[in-house]
Amino acid sequence: MSMYNSNRGGIIQIIIGVIFFFIIAQLISLQIFSSKYVLAANNNAIFRKIIYPDRGIIYDRKKRALLENTISYDLVVIPNEAKGVDTATLCAILKIDKAAYTKRMVEVIVKNSRVKIGVFEPFLSAELYAQLTENLYRFPGFSLSERSIRSYPYNTAAHVLGYVAEVDVNFLQKHGEEGYEMGDYAGMTGLEKQYESILMGQRGVKRYLRDNKGKIQGAFEKGQFDTLAIAGRNLYTSMDVEVQQLAEKLLQHKIGSVVALNPKTGSVIAMASSPGYNPNLLTGNQRRKTIGRLLTDTARPIYNRAIKGQYPPGSTFKPLGALIALDEGLITPSFGYNCFGLYTSCGDPRKCEHHNAGHAANLQLALANSCNSYFLQVFRMAIDNPKYHNAKLGYLKWKEYMNSFGLGRKLGIDLPSENRANIPDTAQYNKDFGGAKYWNSCYMLTLGIGQDRMTSTPLQLANAMAFIANKGYYYTPHFIDSVEEEDDRDKELLVNFRTKQEVTKIPTEYFDIIKEGMHGVTVFGTAAFIKVPGHEFCAKTGTAQNPHGKNHSLFVCFAPKDNPTIAVAVVVENAGFGATWAGPIAGLVMEKYLNDTLTKESKTKVDYLSNVDLMPAAIKQWYVQNNKTEMLTPIEYNNDELADIWDMEMVSEVAPIKPKVDTLKKMDTLTKPIPPAAPVPKTKSSKENALNPKLKKKKVNSKLTNVSI
């Protein structure tokens, strides 16, 4: 009977065939048409470890390293493996309590999960490192991991070099495609930021096979997909460490800035801004302690005044004013002005420092004696130049000159956030005076002596000197002359710094005249008492009035006179005459650079100048009121004493004095471009506050000081 069913064998075969068909169809879909499974598998099993290369090093002109890399150790932990830890001993070594231990552990887990390595205590001191290595066997799951951090052997040039810090969420958003990850370090300011791509090198990736518990099983495919880390390339500058240190030292107890350029190349020799800070205080575990303090300091020590400070150039502007007039054919070198100590042509009389007849009998004399009346007249002639029919067009021409001299615009130095300062636009005057028709040269008369709304940065002033020194051209000021193993991309980056900027067509003989005038300044003029042993130099003093306080002391110069290799601009805020404070500083900087050493006499001068305290009273008052240690100045060039600086009480002989209203006002306006507690590091400073109630108090107080004025 069963034989009747023999066809059923075929049916069973068909059923089996159909099921196999479905299986194969699903396999085709899984293995051939779905790429997501390969991705999922790689996410599962391949662990990418990033190998950080050493960052590039920055050298000065004598190949001394301005910054270096040193090894620091972090205490790291894999939370999952931290079982049976002798917490009492660990807490004792780290000087934390049990609650802090638990809290940090939770932080590590939140940040990196239980199975990955997370940092428990970063930047161990040598002492801690030794203690921990000895006892490490008591702390399963904990290990010490190496990390390369910056150090600054010369404790100098903090503003220029900038600092390296851990990237935050904002940074990652901005640099999304550059492969940064949480926990990476990147240059945040200064050259570190500007040349990040060169300094950071190329990170290597090692691929490991990891199992279902996150444990590493070994190299993936014997490392054939790994990429090697390529060390960051070094950068070479024309800076001179000793000149830089000298400049910083001379600015101690003062607010101001020094910029020294090599006019032949545009390379920066030194750039100092005061108050400053020791760059070593922003590396490693020092950073946590320091950064909040730096950001809340009312004197704003992290603000680079050399490229951001805006000062009226005052009389230092006069050589440029003369140059315009010569080029426009408005005056000749023998042009003179009969000044009796007042300029009255525009009604309201303007004072001149000199009364004696003939002090402005010709251009050279006028420059040497810095006659205000002479240059006010020259400025008016330029604006009311009959060639341009009206004051507005005349002004526009004048402004064009200014811009080509590098004033009122960004020069393009290789530092982030350079300020363009200000050469006012006609629109501003049109607005103020109710239209182009309603103003003439008398309305902005003091532009002629570098006042009014004209401002410039110390860098711009130094560059203008380089321009005069070179007789009509300059190189864009820059730090980096060359990059190690320079490639085409680097060349492109540096091409601007190697191109002569010949922006005007002023004949060289006019420059000779100006140079003669500026030489006169140093021979018989306002700076006659400043000498650079062995060298003739050209200079111009400046004493810029500012509505908020004592005059700023300015000095610009270049040397040697006939073959200039250094151009310097110095600004000392609220210090008085340019020749008194800024002048000697500039002189010493030139001497150090040109002679490579200082005479005995000059050394005593350095000691004297560096100890003169020209801090505005209001700032001193702030320190006293907030019970602050004056940690930012002086910078001692000695590592051992670093710690002491921080703990040092401010030695102030000044009893708490009532601040002058106008001084404080000045501070107020100065703070306008960047508010005192910059909003950027808010989170960090708030953390600091949480840690230290004193800091919080100080912040509130600083607000009060500002409000009470």
Binding site: A41, A45, D211
Partner: protein, 448 residues
């Protein structure tokens, strides 16, 4: 030809193609277990024969099975018919004994510990005994397998070990007993029963996929359409309309009561969860009566589709050509749980890709078709029924196991025949297969 001459030359009449395929499969199995266990940091050549690793154990199992196979080929084929009844009874007794002596392995109490650290799973052996007794029963001259009574008796013989397996929490093993449907169908089970079972399966899946009310409307609508279409015929014969209404009522009952009852009362919580997760739904374990009393609630906390997800990743990441021998990252990283046993197919899929899995399946398909050919050439009903039982058991294991690893079937723990690691399983399949080969070798002489 006499029985004695056959004994002297046992290879005569034995199907060599099947033996070769068997050896290939066992070799593939050992290779797969080796791939799962491989660790580049250890010297594997040493550990190959030390019986400390799974692959070396599997080699010993294979050698042992070879002796068993030779032994089976040497014994008289009449013995199998003679021992069919008593072995079945013995098997059932052993299964009952597990309730007393049972050792808990992976949550199922179906193992009896025997000497040397080895464990015996009577439910596995019962497959063979059930195949034998089924063959014996159907081949009896007084049995008329077109009758319902015979169907019920056969069904009872199959259901008994299946129910015992369920009681031992071995859902997979219990399901395997449905594989005997092939043999029964071949011997005269009306196709209607297959259709009914298929419809039931479709209905269950539909119940899971659709809202109960939507499904009720659809069923009612179909019934209404049938009645409207065949209205003239119904006038002639009132029975037909009753029939349609009865079917409608049964469907409705299945949807409304039977399916929820099965999921909430028969299945364990994790089983219901697995089935629900197959279709991308979540099962609420609080409805489950069994889990309410047992302590398996904790188990369900882990995402239950983890196994399938990892299994699909491993197979899918193999791509067309595969990652290469010993280069599978998922296998090396042990991402797939139970990879050496139930999920052994994933190591093959990852290492050799679609090319490998396709070749493997083709090999197995050829193997099954070969067995069907052997079945059809038998002159005795006993041998044929037994052969179809073997085909059914092999096919069911392969289909369910592979479908489970590629996400076409809920996860039930049944091994891939001859490939998965495990002595019990290898021994069962070897015995099953070689009894068939022994019967086949004697196909010309005996008419049972």
């Amino acid at each position: 030809m006499s029985a004695s001459s056959n004994n002297n030359n046992f290879s005569k009449g034995t199907d060599l193609a099947v033996i070769v395929l068997y050896l290939i499969m066992v070799a593939i199995g050992i290779m797969c277990v080796f791939m799962v266990e491989y660790n580049p940091n250890l010297d594997w050549s040493n550990s190959f024969l030390t019986a400390k690793t799974n692959y070396s154990k599997q080699i010993y199992f294979a050698i042992f099975c070879a002796f068993v196979a030779i032994f089976i080929l040497l014994i008289d084929s009449k013995l199998f018919t003679a021992l069919a009844n008593i072995s079945y009874v013995l098997g059932i007794l052993l299964m009952l004994a597990t309730f007393v002596l049972g050792k808990n392995i992976n949550g199922s109490k179906s193992w009896i510990p025997i000497a040397g650290g080895f464990n015996l799973q009577p439910a596995e052996l019962c497959k063979i005994f059930t195949a034998l007794i089924l063959a014996k029963f159907i081949s009896k001259p007084e049995t008329d397998f077109t009758k319902l009574k015979s169907h019920i008796i056969a069904g009872f013989m199959i259901a008994l070990p299946a129910v015992l397996s369920i009681m031992q929490h071995e859902m997979g093993l219990a399901l395997v007993y449905s594989a005997f449907i092939f043999a029964m169908y071949r011997e005269g089970l009306p196709p209607v029963i297959l259709v009914i079972l298929l419809s039931f399966a479709i209905l269950v899946i539909a119940t899971l996929l659709l809202e109960p009310s939507t499904l009720a409307i659809i069923i009612t609508a179909i019934a209404g359409l049938v009645i409207a279409n065949m209205i003239k015929r119904f006038k002639r014969n009132k029975n037909n309309i009753i029939m349609v209404i009865a079917i409608w009522a049964m469907c409705f009952g299945t949807v409304r009561f039977a399916v929820p009852y099965i999921f909430n009362n028969v299945f364990e919580c994790y089983q219901s969860t697995r089935i629900y997760s197959m279709i991308g739904k979540e099962y609420d374990c609080s409805l489950n009566k069994k889990s309410a009393s047992s302590t398996t609630l904790k188990k369900s906390k882990k995402p239950d589709d983890y196994n399938v997800k990892q299994s699909k990743i491993a197979i899918g990441s193999g791509g067309f050509w595969g990652r290469g021998f010993l280069k599978g990252t998922q296998t090396r990283g042990k991402y797939v749980p139970e990879q050496h046993t139930d999920f052994i197919f994933t190591s093959l899929g990852e290492a050799f890709g679609f090319v490998g899995t396709f070749t493997f399946l083709a090999l197995y398909l050829f193997f099954l078709f070969r067995l069907i050919r052997i079945a059809e050439r038998q002159r005795s009903t006993f041998s044929r029924v037994y052969a179809y039982s073997v085909v059914g058991i092999f096919f069911f294991h392969i289909a369910v196991n592979i479908c489970m690893t590629i996400g076409l079937f809920p996860v039930v723990g049944i091994p891939l025949p001859l490939i998965s690691y495990g002595g019990s399983s290898l021994l069962t399949f070897t015995t099953l297969l070689f009894i068939l080969l022994r019967l086949d070798a004697d196909r010309q002489m005996v008419l049972r």
